[in-house]
């Protein structure tokens, strides 16, 4: 079985926000208006967190691009009363939008604050042209959503590989954020494959995971000289 892993190199990431935008466009994520946004209603599957440390003028800025960590032992799926979020056979934590009752228990259970909720009827660009990605279903008001590791891309890649009767190649399955990152800071691949970049990087001395001590086995690694 494949072990999909994402490695984000914080020493390369500039904090440009392209991954956020790419994820939004790729996954048909709703856009919220000014009032709601400033009340904390923005739906970001990928969120670049900025933090300042230190006092002027010796300031360090941390930028942390944060998708869902796709825990191997996800606490969010455990609490769902209706199995609207679950660990799928590819090892990804999936959401079933049509079953979700919107209790938001999974959101409170996620220690990484990765999930977002549709507080209103989702809105996109006005007008007849919505430019949805046809591979990703759109959500309705009152349900939870989150980064899927662009699993629709995996579906495609799996089909292709099956048709050609071959294993999935390294780099063949790449989420939108990894694909777009102008700093090439996001790596993605199968850690089962010992030759893959992610396998090597995830074992680098710079690699660490967020709150590894919680034992949730997040699939996202960060590379940083600092930590």
């Amino acid at each position: 079985m494949s072990k999909w892993r994402m490695v984000i190199d914080l020493d390369k990431c500039t904090g440009c926000g392209s991954c956020m935008a790419a994820c939004k466009m790729e996954n048909n994520i709703p856009i919220v208006d000014s009032k709601e946004a400033n009340e904390g209603g923005v739906l970001n599957w990928m969120d670049v967190i900025t933090q300042y440390h230190g006092d002027y003028p010796n300031i360090e800025v941390d930028r942390l691009p944060k998708p869902c960590f796709q825990c191997d032992h996800p606490p969010c799926t455990k609490v769902c009363p209706v199995r609207a979020t679950y660990l799928n056979p590819d090892g990804l934590v999936a959401q079933i939008y049509h079953r979700c009752i919107g209790c938001r228990y999974c959101m409170t259970a996620c220690p990484y604050t990765s999930k977002v909720f549709n507080w209103y009827e989702p809105k996109w660009l006005d007008g007849p042209y919505k430019c949805f990605n046809p591979d990703v279903s759109i959500r309705m008001t009152g349900v939870v959503e989150k980064c899927s590791f662009c699993s629709h891309r995996l579906m495609k890649v799996k089909e292709d590989a099956a048709l050609e009767d071959r294993p999935i190649l390294d780099g063949e399955y790449e989420p939108a954020c990894a694909e777009i990152c102008p700093a090439d800071a996001i790596y993605f691949g199968d850690a089962e494959n010992k030759n893959s970049e992610v396998y090597k990087l995830s074992r680098s001395y710079r690699a660490s995971r967020v709150m590894d001590d919680l034992g949730l086995e997040p699939k996202v690694y960060y590379l940083s000289k600092r930590s």
Binding site: G41, P81, T108, M211
Partner: protein, 444 residues
């Protein structure tokens, strides 16, 4: 003022029946006001359904707010009832007699209100049936659904069964709603056999209802403590919540008792002594509550796990400090000061401390739910939570349903168990004497 012509002359406990038959203008005004509030809340809820949960103050980090706070709070209040009455019954406390009914009514009404809150909180209430269709028993939320349903069933039965003799009496007195009383009295005529069965049923129920009640609030605490969130992930949450529930339950019961005593002139039934006893109980609960709170925070502070500490400091000194210290004041300082001194332990004193405790316990729920969400482990910029008018409306709606429920109940059934009072008058003295005798040394 409307009066039904029912002859209560021969009725020794006439005062208990009077509210059923006599309705003052004030009653209609009050009921009108609360119906208006309720309709307003219903309208706001309708809007929430229409536009989405965005009309609340919740947001992507603080995903639970008033509704969950109120859920825990109301369910806590509900422990007034059945649990207290069961304990009192079980311990054969004679002074329980005028209290149990009211306590049980609180449970039934408040439980219904509390139990509805998670539904108010759902993003897709239309999909609720998935809980049945696709319910996952592994989810603590389903444990809640199960235990609240069980508790609701048990406590309504437990409310209902001891009411049968009184209903039969209402049936026999004639007047309105005869069909209802006939139906509900189940052919009660007061035969010895019936009495025996009734007593047995009550005994079974009261034994059953205690673990169920405890389980309910334990399970509710599990919603929080089963997660990894700092401030929530605590092993003492189960008993802590139960204690808090009983604590707030008693306070709510006291407020209700004092209110009805005043409104329906029940001074004869609800005497100073009841308030003294319950006041003492409240004092004890306050101290136990404090003990739990102290343990909870001390262990957190001592171990000083950074995330945990972050939240504790946030509660102690952050924007929520006012609520935290308000809670300590309301739940501990004020009640302990008032209730420790006989001088202050008057009905007014008890009322004041009960009100502060109810407020304090609401704050406690708030201080448990919101700050943990406002400070997620990921050091995100802190969220803010400012409840909106919708949430206030629904809180007001919940309270008005509670009051309306009581007012309606009081119009249909006696709020004090008539037959138990009678029984007390007839047998209580003798029984107590015997019982006391049995405790004392040197007697066979």
């Amino acid at each position: 003022m409307s009066k039904q012509k029912v002859n209560l002359e021969s009725e020794p406990e006439a005062a208990l029946f009077r509210p059923i038959y006599e309705t003052g203008k004030g009653y209609y005004i009050v009921i009108g006001i609360f119906i208006a509030i309720f309709l307003w809340a219903a309208f706001m809820y309708f809007n929430q359904i229409r536009f989405g949960l965005g009309v609340t103050g919740m947001n992507q980090t603080i995903t639970w707010g008033f509704y969950i706070v109120n859920f825990v709070f109301f369910i806590g209040i509900s422990h007034a009832g059945t649990l207290i009455s069961a304990i009192l019954r079980l311990s054969k406390a004679e002074w329980r007699r005028p209290i149990t009914r009211m306590a049980e009514v609180i449970t039934a009404i408040v439980l219904a209100i509390g139990g509805l809150h998670p539904i108010l909180d759902l993003g897709r209430p239309d999909r609720m049936l998935y809980l049945v269709e696709a319910g996952r028993l592994q989810s603590p939320l389903l444990w809640d659904v199960t235990s609240i349903t069980a508790y609701f069933t048990a406590s309504t039965v437990y409310l209902y069964v001891p009411m049968i003799p009184d209903i039969a009496r209402l049936r026999d007195q004639g007047g309105k709603l005869k069909w209802l009383y006939s139906f509900l009295s189940w052919g009660w005529t007061g035969t010895e056999h019936q009495k025996k069965v009734l007593n047995k049923a009550i005994n079974i129920l009261m034994v059953m209802v205690i673990p169920i009640a405890i389980s309910v609030h334990t399970v509710i605490s599990y919603i929080f403590s089963m997660t990894l969130q700092p401030g929530w992930h605590s092993t003492i949450f189960g008993p802590y919540f139960v204690v808090g529930a009983i604590f707030s339950g008693i306070a709510a019961l006291l407020i209700v008792m004092i209110a009805f005593r005043k409104v329906f002139h029940l001074e004869n039934y609800l005497k100073e002594i009841h308030f003294k006893y319950l006041g003492t109980l409240l004092l004890i609960m306050s101290i136990i509550w404090f003990y739990f709170t102290f343990s909870e925070y001390l262990t957190g502070i001592f171990a000083a796990e950074p995330h945990e500490m972050h939240i504790i400091l946030y509660k102690f000194t952050g924007p929520f400090a006012i609520f935290f210290w308000g809670m300590v004041l309301c739940n501990f300082i004020i009640p302990v000061i008032i209730l420790s001194f006989n001088k202050f332990k008057t009905i007014t004193g008890v009322l004041i401390s009960s009100i502060t405790v109810v407020i304090g316990m609401w704050l406690e729920r708030f201080i448990i739910v919101v700050p943990s969400l406002a400070n997620p482990r990921m050091e995100l910029p802190m969220g803010i939570y400012i409840p909106t008018i919708t949430e206030w409306a629904l809180l007001a709606g919940g309270i008005s349903v509670f009051i309306l429920g009581f007012m309606v109940f009081a119009k249909i059934f006696p709020l004090i168990s008539v037959w138990e009072i009678e029984e007390g008058r007839k047998q209580g003295l003798k029984e107590v004497e015997e019982r006391i005798h049995s405790y004392l040394p040197g007697t066979p």
